[in-house]
Every structure is written in structure tokens, then in C-alpha cells.
Symmetry: D2
Subunit: 345 residues, 4 copies
């Protein structure tokens, strides 16, 4: 068994990591930290883990955790991760950072959307953790920046299309909706059941922090600057993202070409599913899994492509993808421990 | 008291009509028909109406209902309404038709999206029941075609902008989400709690029947043909529509011009609320009401306008608007019986 | 118009009071306080009130509020209310206290379940605000202690039965479930959508604070000490309480006697509805209303009575009942402003 | 791999069986029948199974299915199962029947609650499929009657207590609540999202069909006739049962004795979890799993025991338990394929 640790395990990405590691045949969780809950049994805070995780939360610092594990998952908020990384990297313990701190290659962009970066010199060491496109680099990396949830759903849909020139790099619109766990496990009024239940609303509609991350990777795929119109919405569900992307097809390109391209690019990929024509994704079909579902239709009125991408924001959008990255970094089979199927209903 | 009747009261628009009429100071419900439930007490089928509606469902035909009431609400499915209208119109009983049968002015378009029209010669007698734009015509009408739910949310946002030339009539995208009651109270697997709960998914993404209705009214406002890209989604809530509309502003037009235009057009309107800058609509804030909320932002990356419109699909999107139309047709104050405020939470 | 004020309007009882007062023909809300939100527009915090409440939250102290209004609703937590009451009472402004501070007649019992009472000498001035049984006293009172939500649902069911000796005063069990708004609008992890959604669980199963309040009033009705087994559960809904009460009938008493007794006691009561045999209450049927629904069946195996009582914890269980009490105290028609019907679905 | 088949796979127990079998290391689903969906791909009906189940529904009769598999799961409604069993039993293919048809040992009781039994002579061949108490018999059985969902939650709590004489066999009350999937995947108005969402209500409060099944097994444990007061309620969630059982302790017995007894009886049991004092079960903690959680408290007012039992009605309450039984019948490790952990949130 390969030892693993989690820095900051009291949030929703933390509990999902623990669930996945508890069922992983080769990774063993040795330590999980939480300042807030230190000393308390994990199963006291997360009753779903009773009988599956016997650890208590520790207040171990990053170095101590690194000493206990061959791989550390950083499930702390942004800015906390970039404090931890310089302490862990020298120990040769591998890192999967679930925060945003090492996703943007340009520290100025990071500063614009977040705050000044504490260790810009380390940015070049980080590999962007989207296995379907950076598999080789991830396998060789010491530090992987796990992508954002909205970002993953949009990139899986668009990278193959932009890189093949099937759609215009202009006029892209991503209209997305996420379950509340995407906002974390925070004591905030807006996340209360009383506020979020039975409700649907847009938020952060100008300048959500996932925008530059999407644009960075889409621009790389397109070979030119891509600007994206991105609108997030909050769903009254716990888990799940559905992105509806509007794209202008290049001349003569229809939905069937999009599907063919996806089928070609994602042939053999265990976690990207291209739906048959006439089928559309749903968040419920991928809840609790590491799978993304893709579908496309041509709008009969405008000729625009409507591209649909669904995933679980805590699965393929966060902790599931983090385990997928860890598997790659550790030389394990990429889909190990990620075979879960969504419960229905 | 003015007498009213409902043809086909066993669905969700029916129960909402009954709720609104039970609280209406001048309208009195005299009869409600339902073949399925004939003879059964309304309150047995809809327990929320116990103590408020003492009628039983009858199997009265349209003519009989017309004989019992000065106004009849048609809450039957499309195609059933156009069988009833020719029987009621000659009696001089007024009609608010909540179905789609008299919304499209072009019978060929109706045939294309629905079925051959049974009485195309009556189409010209129908007034499109969007009071904010057809108030005078509605007041004089004998037959009002109550608009579709998605349609109302999009038209309230866009008509003032197209008629003033503030946005391009090209490239309009309406990305919309609705609660399940929009699909009716039908014994269908896809509407079960087990299927719709905790789920979010697109549906009817190519050719939803509300598309031609939107285009008809938007084209009239724009003075030229408007083609709309429309994508409906199904929300795991009972009531509520949120539309996110993407529009290309004309040169020099920003969000503040949009707001000013709305404020001017909707000054004094009791049921259209323009939110302050920085505020965004939510379905929960208008649940159970006849109010639509509008907001707009300019996307900082693309310059596109993001226009948000929220309403209750059974309120302003159906039965609330039907009562608003009835008030106008009967010479009553337009907002009578429609003062309900959304419960929160 | 009679002037009203709310002390502590930032919680869920506060927003429900504001909703009800906004639709009340004779009461006008003049001021609402909130330390947390002082200076902010009410409609900014509660978007459902936009267009209906134009006030901003003030940080007025109780005396100032009393100077602005003929009646003050205390929507602050327990212990805060008993600080405010002594400041308001001398001004002759009437008080409806929605907290628990003046519900228990015995200050020792209060101390046992809450904390030492700050003004036990005022307890005798408070009238218990259950209009169906204390109507005359409420009408004459300066200070009304508005009952607890669970308590109201159980008392309405049992007081008529105990006072008539139809059921045993021993062995009573109240198995109850409440929506999350019963726990308030607090920044607590357990109230997050992520924790409460799609979940059902018991809580506070030994010694919930509503127990002594129920026992106090049930004992008065029975004329002897009643001990109740009470088990609250948390429902994944925002509003609503359903109580299932198990009671041993006295010799020869069946469900039909229970119904007859209720029908007799509640004849003419606008807010208590006895369901027909075979009908059972549901929280959805009373959501957003001031109505309680009652039903009873005899268990065929054990002969126990199963008594069902449903209400909206923020309606008849809190703010609705508070307005009902205010109407009585001010000489207004008791049901004024409380005619709302539950939206369905 | 051992071959398996499902008769009647279009319901919620069917889809859960398919999910579990898709992840089972030794069982392979070879055929699944559904008259309604014959010829259609399983993944078309249940999108969560796309990529995991490649079968199409067949309209195979029981005998044909028996010829394709070493074990057949009957996921058809009651009365259909008893038509199938006589056709399969002679083939020596093993049967796990998820319906109620072979649960009651007394055909007269079956007739009273359901209908005349078609093959009462086969009842004695059926073993009641509660592995924790009939493990040996199950392992030797050709036909296992999988217990009801409510029943399992109550039996796991009470059998150890009645068999040890820790609680009285009189006065037992089971107040239970279930998610909507317990009612099946049926085109019924009462199961629509619009009716069940945001609602909580009792149903079948006199004479639910699970009553005789509970009483049968509890009486066997107690060694005397047990009569149970049972009240089911419908929760606005898809999956999960929470039972709150009220029991009179025998002299001197407290919550700690109950816990000790459970710990002793369930030592080593993989699927029954006794919670630490102060912890209470929740449906969310066991959603999607084969685990039952038990807890107990003594009511401080009445001395009654409050016993809490939570499970997933489709997991340990149906399909999970069915796989557990199949494992036993086939000589496989009992918990094989049942290691899933609940997703949180």
C-alpha cells in the first residue's frame, strides 16, 4: 500500500477524497489534517465514513504530513496551498493540489483574480492535472494542479474541438450550473438549506475565477487567444455540474463531426462518455462518479452548436480527478479506485 | 361577484387558478371540470384547497360551463382548447386560453409545431395575452391566448430592447431552466420524484414548441425576423423559471442603458421588477407570485449582455397572468387578487 | 393603520412577519431592527420582499422601537427577548414575543431548560398565545408569549382530548418532524444545504426544550401532570411540521369520538381544519399558511390512537400565530391578513 | 464468474441490482427482463448505467431466464413472483425473490394482506432472507424471500432485544419514514416530483402490508405473539428509511444494555453499525450502501427506549440485501460487491 495524506480534510473535497481512498486498493490514507476539528474522529464529523475511516483529524503542518505519506492531497483553500507547497516539494513527497494556486501559468493573472502569488517561481513545476490531455506530464510530475470543476466540464467538451479547428474560437459561451457543494462546506448564510433549497439563481456572473483558467487552456488548444463568456448558476442539489456551451461551428461542421472528433480523441478514455445522438447528459447520471458525459446538437434555428457536458463537481470536477492524477503520478492503473457507478434514483 | 369557470382543472395550472380565484375579491369560481375526477371534491385531489374551494369537479362540456360563467379559463392541453373555443365564443362568455392553441398567428406554424389547427379562422380574434404590451387589446378581447411560461420570461426581457434597437436581433440565445410543474401533472416516468429530484438536465433542445412563439413576438418588436437559439433545462424544483439570455448590444450600449430602458417601459407596471445593479434574480424570490424579476450585466470578456429573467412558471408564466388578463377583460383593477408575496424560505 | 415594529428581523420568523405585515390591511410595519444588517435595505437581504418592504434595518433599541409602534414583535432569540420586554412594557406598547422567554410559567423550569430568567416577576403578566384556548386573555394582554412550533402542533391536537378525558394522560408519545427553518437562519454547518438536503434524522431526542412547554399546557388541560415522550426529527424541507402522536384512548373511545370532539371544540375556528375520515395531513398542504390540519386513526393492531397534526412552523407555528395574536390584542378581526392559501405544487 | 439474471428489471430495485452486479467481482449479469422495455438498451432507460451495463431488456419468461443463469433475482411485483417461482425452482437455478410473495409463512395471512397465494405448498421451501439471523438457512436455500425495507430496519433493531427479553413484547411502536423509491417506479400522480417534493406525510397508517411481516419475525424472536403499531411516512428524498421505535424496557434495562446486546449480537457483522452514545443515525449517511445504523436513547421523561434505525430502502432494504443473500447462497464472501460508501454530501 502506498501512503497518502490530506491537508485540510474538513471540506467537501476532503470527505470525497477520504471516501475514494477508503475504497482504493493501493492507496492508504495515513493522516488527515484539520485545524478546526483537530483531535476529533473523522467519522464524528462525516458520519458516512463511520466504519470506513478510523483516523482522527490532526493539526499536522505540511512538512509533518509529507513525512507520513508518499503523496499529499492539498484540500485547503487557495492561498493556503501555496504556503504548503514549498514545504512539501523538497521532501519529494508528491502533491496533488486541489486549490487554484498552481493552475494559472501566469502569476499576474493569478494576482488579478486572487491575490499576489507567494511562490511564482514554482508555477513552472506544476503540471495542469487534466489527465486526458496532460497524461504524460502528470505521470512525471511532483506537483499537479488539479483543475477547477466548471473548468473540467468545459475543457473536456471544447479542447478537442478547438485543437481540430472544428469550432470558432470566438463567441464561445459557457452557461453552467453547479450544485452547492462547489461553494464548499462553509458557514455562510447563502449556503443554508433555507436559502439554496428550491431555488435557482445566477451568481458571480462577471468575472468568476474559473474564467481565466478556462481561457488559458482553451487558448493553448486553439493556438490563439480565446475569450469565453461564462455564467455560473447555483442549483438546489448537492453535487453536479451541467455546462451548456454555445459554439459557432466552422463551415460545414455539424453535430456529427463533433461527435466523431470526441469519439476519436476519447477512444479508450475510461472517464469521458460520448452519448449517442438523441441522448442528453444529466447530473444525476454521474453523481458520485468520476465520469463526464458529453453530447451535442445543432440548433435548427441558428445553426449554433449546443454542447452539453455533465460531471460531478466533487468527482471528475475535484476529488475523483485528484485520485486519477495520483494514480498516474504513482504508476498505478489510472482508473484504480474510481469505478463507482451513480446510484439511481 | 363575477362568475368564472375552469375547463380542465385537474392540472397544475388548474389548481393555481383555483388558488388565485379563491383569494380574488371580485371573481367567484362557479364550476371546474375534469373528466378524470368528475364528481370528486376538489379538496380531495388538492388538499391545499381544503376550506377554500368547496366545489366538486364536474364533467360539464364547454357550452355548459359557458352558461355558468362570465369568463372561462381553458386549462386543458393544446388541441382540446381549440375544440372548446368555437363552442364558447358565440355565448359571449369571455375566454382566457392557457393552452398554446391561439398563441401563434400563423396556422401553418401551429401545424408545424403542434398539429393541424381546427379553427384557423378564429386565430385573428385571439389577442396575445401579455398585458404589458397588449393591455388595450386584451381589455377589448373576447378570447385571450395566455402566453407560454418560458416565452413570458424571455419576452419581458427582450421586447423593450428590440423595439428600441438596443440589441441586435441576431445571435440571441435564451438558456432557460424550469421547475417540473411546467411539464404538467401527468403520469409520466420522467416527472417522478425519483427521476427529477436531485437532477438537472437539458431537454427538447432542438425545436421546443415555445420557440416559434418567442420568435413571433420578438420579430414584431424588432420589426424584422428574429431567430432565437433556445435551450430549456429541467430543474429539481416544483415552480420557477430562470432565463439567462445572451444578446449582442448595439454600438455603445451597456447594461445601464438596458436598465434605463426597462425602467422607462415598465414604470408603473405592478408585476415587472428591475433589480438594482449588482442584484440578480432567483426563482425562490418570485415563487407563488405574479412577479417577474429582470437584471442585466455586461460580460467583461466578450462585451455580450447577460440578461436574467425570473418568474414563477405557474404564476406570471401561466395562471397568474391568466387572472391578470381576466381582470383586464372584465374591467377590474389589473392586479386584483395577485398581491401574493413569495414565502421565504 | 396601526403601527408595528419588529425587534430582530433578520431571521426566518422575521422575514415571515414582514411578509405577513406587508399584506395586512390594518397593520403597517414602521421599523425593523437587526444589529447584523443595520443600514441595509430589507429587500437586499430578503429578495422576496423587494417591492413589498421598503424599509432598511435599523439598530434601534427596544425602547426606540416601542416609541415607533403600537405593537412590537420580538423575533430575537431567547434571553434577548427578556432583556427587551422590561424596556417596552412600561411604554404601553403591546408585545408579541416569539421567543421562549415568557412561555413557561415556572422560572425554575425555564432555568433548567434555558438559563436563569432575568425578570421572573414579569412572567405572570404574559399570556400564552394560543388563541384557540386563550382568546379572551390574549385580547386583554400587553405581553403575549407566542407558542413554540412543535408545541402548537401537539397542543391543538391534544388539549381538547385531555380536557374531555378522551385519552389517557399517560403514555403520550409525540413523534415530530420539522423543516430546517425551525432551527433558524444561522451560520451553522448542520443547516447547510450540503448537510440537510436529501437527509432525515432525529435530533435532541432527550430533552428538547419544547418538552416542558408542551407538558405545561397539556397538564393544565388534563388537570393532572402529563409527561410526554417527544422526539424531533429534521426534514429536508424549508417549512413544515408534521406531528404523529400516539395516545391511549379511554375505554370505548375511538377515532370517531376524537373527531367529534375536535369538530365541536374547533367549530368556527378559522385556522384549525379537521380532515375527513380517510384523509391525512401533509406539510405541503399548509405551507405558507396559518392553518393546522388534524386527523386521527385507530391502529387496528394495538388500539392506540394515531393522531396527525400538520402546520407550517413559520406560519401557525410562529409568525402567522403572532399576527393572529396581534389582531386579537389590537381589536382587529382575528384572521385579518392571514388568508393565504398554500401554493401547490 | 457466476451467471445471474433479473426478472423485471425496470423498477428501482432492478436498477440498483444492476448497479451492484456491475461492480460485483464474481457475479455477472447475463439477462434482464422487462415486458415494458423489451428490446431497449438498459442504459437508455437508466442513464447512470451507460458504460456499465451493455445488455438490452428482454421479454424472456422465467424459465428462459433460469436457463441463462445460476441465480435469478425476482424484481417483479408481488403476485408476479409467485407465478415465476414454480417455473424456476425445478431448474435448480437459485432464486432471490425481492417481492413479498414468500415472506409470510402463513398463506392465510398472505391472502388477508395481499391476495390468495398461488403456490402455498412452496412457502415452506422459502428461507427468510435476513442474513444476520438466517445465515445458515440462506446458504442452503434454493429460494430466499428477501425482506421488506421497513421490516429490515425494524427487525435489525428489535430481534436481539426481544430474543434476550430486554424489552417488553407489548406496546411496541414503529414510527417510520421512507424515501419515495420505496413506492417503486410507477406512473402514479402521488409519486410525481410536484406532489412528493417539499412534502412530508403519513400514509397507509392502518394496515400497511409490512406489519404482518414484522410481527411474524418479532414474534419468533420473542417466543410469543408481538403486535406492532406501525406508521409509515413519505419523505421528500429518493432513498432512505429512518425508523424511530418506542419500546418499554424490562425492569432495570437502560440504553447501555441495549447497546451492549447489539454489540454482542452484531459483532463481526459487516453491515450493522451500532453508533456511539450521543450519535444518531441519518438516512444520508447510509444512502447507496448496504449498511444499517442503530442507536438508542432512554427518554428522560417517560423511561421509554427510543430506538433509531437507518438504512437505504434500496440497499440493505432491498437490492443490497438481495446480493448479500445471493453471495451466501453461492458460497461467495458475504460482503462481496457491497463495499460502497455513501457519498457526502
Amino acid at each position: 500500500m502506498i501512503s497518502a495524506a490530506i491537508l485540510g480534510g474538513s471540506g467537501y473535497t476532503g470527505v470525497e477524497l477520504m471516501r475514494l481512498l477508503a475504497g482504493h486498493p493501493e492507496l492508504e490514507l495515513r493522516a488527515v489534517s484539520s485545524r478546526q476539528y483537530r483531535g476529533r474522529a473523522v467519522a464524528d464529523i462525516f458520519p458516512s465514513l463511520a466504519g470506513h475511516v478510523s483516523l482522527a483529524f490532526s493539526d499536522a503542518d505540511p512538512q509533518t504530513l509529507a513525512g507520513q505519506a508518499e503523496i499529499v492531497f492539498l484540500a485547503v483553500p487557495h492561498q493556503a496551498a501555496m504556503q504548503a507547497v514549498p514545504q512539501i516539494l523538497p521532501t519529494n513527497t508528491k502533491i496533488v493540489d486541489l486549490s487554484a494556486d498552481f493552475r494559472l501559468r501566469d502569476p499576474d493573472l493569478y494576482e488579478k483574480y486572487y491575490a499576489p502569488h507567494a511562490c511564482p517561481q514554482l508555477l513552472s513545476q506544476a503540471v495542469y492535472g487534466l489527465p486526458e490531455f496532460y497524461r504524460r506530464e502528470i505521470a512525471a510530475a511532483g506537483l499537479v494542479a488539479n483543475p477547477g470543476c466548471y473548468v473540467t466540464s468545459v475543457l473536456l467538451a471544447l479542447i478537442p474541438l478547438l485543437s481540430a479547428g472544428l469550432i470558432s474560437s470566438r463567441g464561445l459561451i459557457a452557461d453552467c450550473a453547479s450544485g452547492v457543494s462547489g461553494a464548499g462546506r462553509k458557514e455562510e448564510i447563502s449556503l443554508l438549506h433555507g436559502e439554496a433549497h428550491d431555488n435557482f439563481r445566477p451568481y458571480s456572473v462577471s468575472g468568476h475565477r474559473h474564467t481565466p483558467e478556462m481561457e488559458q487552456e482553451l487558448s493553448l488548444a486553439a493556438g490563439e487567444e480565446v475569450r469565453l463568456t461564462f455564467t455560473p448558476h447555483l442549483l438546489p442539489i448537492d453535487r453536479g455540474i451541467l455546462s451548456t456551451v454555445y459554439a459557432l461551428p466552422q463551415n460545414g461542421i455539424g453535430a456529427e463531426h463533433i461527435r466523431s472528433r470526441w469519439l476519436e480523441v476519447y477512444r479508450g478514455e475510461p472517464f469521458v462518455r460520448i452519448l449517442d445522438p438523441g441522448r442528453l447528459p444529466s447530473t444525476k447520471a454521474v453523481r458520485g462518479t468520476n465520469t463526464a458525459q458529453l453530447a451535442v446538437e445543432t440548433d435548427p434555428r441558428s445553426g449554433l452548436l449546443k454542447i452539453f457536458s455533465a460531471l460531478d463537481n466533487l468527482g471528475k470536477g475535484a476529488s475523483g480527478q485528484a485520485v486519477q492524477n495520483a494514480n498516474l503520478m504513482l504508476g498505478l492503473p489510472e482508473s484504480m479506485g474510481l469505478a463507482g457507478i451513480a446510484v439511481w434514483p
